[in-house]
Symmetry: C2
Subunit: 207 residues, 2 copies
Amino acid sequence: MPDIKHFNPDVVLDDVVRVFWRQGMPTTGIQALVTATGVSRSSLYATFGNKDGLYAAALSRYIEQHSTPAFAQLSAAPSGLTSIEEFFAGLIHIRCHGEIAGWGCMVTNAHAGPECSDPTIRTLLDEHHRTLESALRAALATASHLGQLRPSVDLDTAAAVLATLAYGVNLRSRAGAEAETLTATVSAALAPLRARHRATPQEESPT
Amino acid sequence: MPDIKHFNPDVVLDDVVRVFWRQGMPTTGIQALVTATGVSRSSLYATFGNKDGLYAAALSRYIEQHSTPAFAQLSAAPSGLTSIEEFFAGLIHIRCHGEIAGWGCMVTNAHAGPECSDPTIRTLLDEHHRTLESALRAALATASHLGQLRPSVDLDTAAAVLATLAYGVNLRSRAGAEAETLTATVSAALAPLRARHRATPQEESPT
DNA sequence: CCTATCTCGGAACGGTCATTCCAAGATAGG
DNA sequence: CCTATCTTGGAATGACCGTTCCGAGATAGG
């Protein structure tokens, strides 16, 4: 009987994500979202409740579309430290070049705004953080099996260091940090994890 | 001849800092600042120009009052790696305990907001970053002279890693990260810098 | 075709935003 | 004391905020 929705909420959400991502939550008005999506106020409110719900849905969509695929790829990557280097190289490239350069990471940005007081948002941030850490941990485990790591490296804390570093990279990219600088920094953070010389995989290296 | 200002701008600015720090720039209205400072709109505008000028002055004051002293102490600290550990321990404690727990760092927060597009703010952020890096570099140089560092450690990039990590710590503290977790992360980042055993410094030091 | 039920566009609402303006108060040289 | 000059408190302004409401349009079962 009833009428059916005239738009695809996920597609609309992709537009909403871009606006919130670029401008931040408090700076973005509903009118800007109406303009960006082409969907009227009524429909946005009917679908997402209110601005907070809209932002929460957008952040969730961002994680699903941008973070999760990258983390999954990192988790499953077979080349250990090289995969981690590639992960950071891709991250830095996207933060510093192209259309969305200077936008930073929407999740990282959410940490610094008032939205992170919201329990719903807080949950998304924590889940994102855990997922990032375990993806890094998985890649480090692969590296360990490949004999790329010093035996002294603790996988959990090393993953925590790299995850925390990633937030710093995202943040500094917003202030115009140079890609080369960020790359050098990441490289310096990875260097001490690396086994001194080539090691025979599966069996560990001397000392 | 003229009347004289009835308040001390720096004292007022300290109140303004607290509001901007806790609530962020876009979320804070002028009325909130009038209430917090006890100074009327007219006087705030006459003294600081507009909201952007007020925020810029507050951020500058924050750096002067909070960042600079901590960085100066770190720069001049005599105990090398121990001083760096103490710097991070103090940072984490202030971020996670007491009245201002969960506020994060005002400079770190400024990175993620729309205010970092403002050239004036951008300059403050860059200067803050350079100062933080060189303070860490100075402390690392001290550690190096004390023989606490592996010879392979590059002071500049190691300082960059630790500075970037500090931003991550500040960010995650806002989302309720536990102090112990952050401490363990920092500790894991410092561990690989440390010389394997006690080394004989050029001047030896006990411990 | 008819009608119940939902969606949609846009107007309308009260509140708050940053900013300006003005009259009253304070100051200090004459 | 007088007055020129600045500061101050508070009202006024126009724009925009998030949200609600309503009439019109679309849909699909009967």
